[in-house]
Amino acid sequence: MLSRFRSNQAIGFILSVMLVLLFVYIWTRPWAHREMRDGFLLGFFPMLGVGAMLFCTLAMTFDPLRKEVPEELASYSLYDTAKALVMVIGVGIYFAIMRKIGFVLVTPVFLFIYMGWFGVRPWRTNLILAVCIPLATYLLFSVLGVRLPNGILPALF
């Protein structure tokens, strides 16, 4: 039962529904029907892109490989996808704080948490790496002339 929802057919169907909605969204935008000076519709290529995707997802729903479960998906659960999403959100939060507080102050915390999550032990090694890697990165990028966010650091000294 579960594998049926992971099959190419199910994936193709879900994507097709999403693409139909996207196509309708573009079709209903006024810019899509605006004619350019060369007589070309502004929305032609975006709609061609969505149309091409839709054709492919429909093909996934009906072609001979429709019942197959993608190899990479077979061993993954929704829980794994949620974990990946948490990782992405964590990186987003790290960046938002890093911009305000500064690279050198926030990156060690981020690395310490993520390396701890990924199982780097003992904690002392984790801490040393979490401090040394951002410092080395900051130095390297400074030498290269890339300015990383300093945040509140200049105000502290």
Binding site: L48, T81, V91, F103, F110, Y114, F118
Partner: protein, 518 residues
């Protein structure tokens, strides 16, 4: 030959800065290749923002050096631990790891290095000889022919980049759609921005590339770490014993005796490298398979230097030729070529056949860097293989968060735009989902790059033919031939499913390699 441009290229390439970045590129590339799970594409994507800081030859030195180094570097962990650093080196596991277990690891790595450099060097010479001739032919193409050529390239990529044609073409469709976000390439009118002002400039290349190639891979690796399903198999023997100077090296006679296998690798790799969609993994397995069939007396597969020579020359011989479609037609044939093309575009040089006349000094410089890169690869590989073998043991638990930080810095430092980071993260998650459902990422990035050119050429063809679609699309014999060829590729792929067969060969070989390891 433009002598002035040649001298200018000499002046640009033979500087301390260019040589330094070429060495850095090879140094990083061999290291990236040696670490299982990191590929040349990930490395080039992460290094792409540096092209804002470097001049064009420095950028080319860094990226081409990295590419050459990474393709060879994969063999180090394949030989040392039986775990290929990248799929390109999976065929090397059969013989390489068996040799390591017999205490001949040093000999195996030297054979991998010499055969890689030999085939890479010779294939670069072939590229230098043929690319200008093909570009001259391409200059004769009109907008109709150029448009159909792009369609052929997209079709080939979709057909050959995975086992499911619909998914390959879906990836190309996503690239085409993403390429239309921003402004219309002809009249610069905003479109497809979802009402967001910050999307008016379109999706920027650097966050797209870093998201799709680096962040998505790190998410996958991060999950693997959490699941503990993928661990670097550490050899029971001490690395010092395997690669110590007292262990058996490679004699000149042994190296020369593998000329047939290197020749097979050179031929197969050069041909496959120049075709869009296939790449180093297929070249490596095909060369290995042909050599094994052709020379049964050499006992390839049982721990023979000849198997390593065939596989490694096969994958490295694709490095130069993969740039041929990019230079001759302006159409990248692989994700790595697309990234190198992107770096050229960031430097203000658009890859196309006109590049040979507009920027001949860049072409000469690129050829020189391709050529010199082999000697740098040889030197760094020869001296630092032992160090890189240790690097292959570096834990992904440390690497994944570190590379995530690099991905954030790389995306941010390119333009200093906050939206680039969120775009990179969103595209990274999309890339992760694409990997999960088996949609290849190479057609996406290539179609994204050529989408504006495709639109531009179609509209030019329509303008020339006063808005008449039929003559614009099928107004020349060459255009009709290319359209028929694209249709034929799709029909053949559906009936014979070449991509599936190639993927099956790769998977079966991978399984065999795994069982060999165990």
């Amino acid at each position: 030959m433009n002598v002035d441009a040649f001298y200018e290229a000499l002046y640009l390439v033979f500087t301390v800065e260019t040589m330094f970045w070429l060495c850095v590129g090879v140094f990083l590339g061999v290291g990236l290749g040696a670490i299982p799970g990191l590929t040349a594409s990930t490395g080039i994507a992460l290094m792409l923002p540096l092209s804002y800081l470097l001049d064009i030859t420095g950028t080319l030195g860094l990226l081409i050096g990295l590419y050459k180094g990474a393709v060879f570097g994969g063999s180090i962990s394949a030989i040392s631990f039986g775990t290929p650093g990248a799929p390109d080196s999976a065929a090397t596991v059969y013989d390489g790891y068996k040799m390591t277990k017999r205490g001949k690891g040093r000999k195996a790595i030297l054979m991998a290095l010499y055969s890689s450099v030999t085939a890479d060097l010779l294939s670069d010479i072939i590229v230098i000889l043929i690319a200008p001739t093909i570009a001259l032919l391409a200059l004769q193409f009109g907008p109709t022919e150029r448009m159909w050529l792009m369609v052929v390239a997209i079709t080939l990529l979709g057909a050959l980049s995975g086992r499911h044609l619909a998914k390959g073409l879906l990836s190309a469709g996503i690239g085409l759609f993403l390429g239309t976000i921003g402004t219309d390439p002809v009249s610069s009118v905003p479109r497809n921005t979802f009402g967001q002002v910050w999307l008016r400039d379109g999706l920027h290349l650097v966050p797209l590339v870093i998201g799709i190639f680096a962040m998505s891979q790190m998410l996958e690796q991060g999950l693997d770490v959490l699941r503990k399903s993928k661990t670097v198999q550490v050899s029971t023997e001490k690395l010092g014993d395997i690669f110590g100077r007292k262990t058996e090296g490679l004699t000149f006679r042994e190296y020369i005796s593998a000329w047939r296998e290197m020749g097979i690798g050179l031929g197969v790799g050069t041909f496959i490298g120049a075709l869009p969609g296939l790449g180093a993994t297929v070249a490596s397995f095909l060369s290995y398979g042909i050599a094994k069939q052709a020379f049964p007396e050499k006992r390839i597969g049982e721990g023979s230097i000849y198997g390593i020579a065939a596989a490694e020359s096969g994958n490295n011989a694709t490095v130069g030729p993969t740039l041929v479609p990019l230079l001759a037609f302006g159409i990248p044939g692989s994700s790595t070529a697309a990234l190198i093309g992107a770096a050229l575009m960031l430097q203000g040089v658009t890859p196309s056949p006109r590049m040979f006349t507009l920027h001949p000094e860049v072409i000469y410089a690129l050829f020189m860097i391709l050529f010199i890169g082999n000697f740098v690869n040889l030197g760094i590989g020869r001296v630092l293989s032992f160090f890189y073998a240790r690097l292959g043991q570096l834990s992904p638990s440390i690497l994944v968060p570190t590379i995530m930080v690099m991905a954030v810095i790389g995306s941010y430092s390119a333009r200093g735009d906050v939206y680039d980071i969120y775009m990179m993260l969103g595209l990274g998650f999309m890339g992760f989902l694409m990997r999960r459902i088996g949609v290849p990422e190479a057609p996406l990035i290539i179609t994204f790059l050529i989408a504006p050119m495709l639109e531009d050429n179609l509209r030019r063809a329509l303008l020339i033919n006063r808005g008449e679609w039929m003559p614009a699309m099928f107004g020349s014999t060459l255009g009709i031939t290319m359209a028929a060829f694209a249709a034929l590729v799709i029909v053949i792929t559906i009936r014979v499913n070449v991509g599936a067969k190639l993927a099956t060969v790769g998977r079966m070989s991978g399984d065999t390699a795994k069982s060999d390891r165990e």
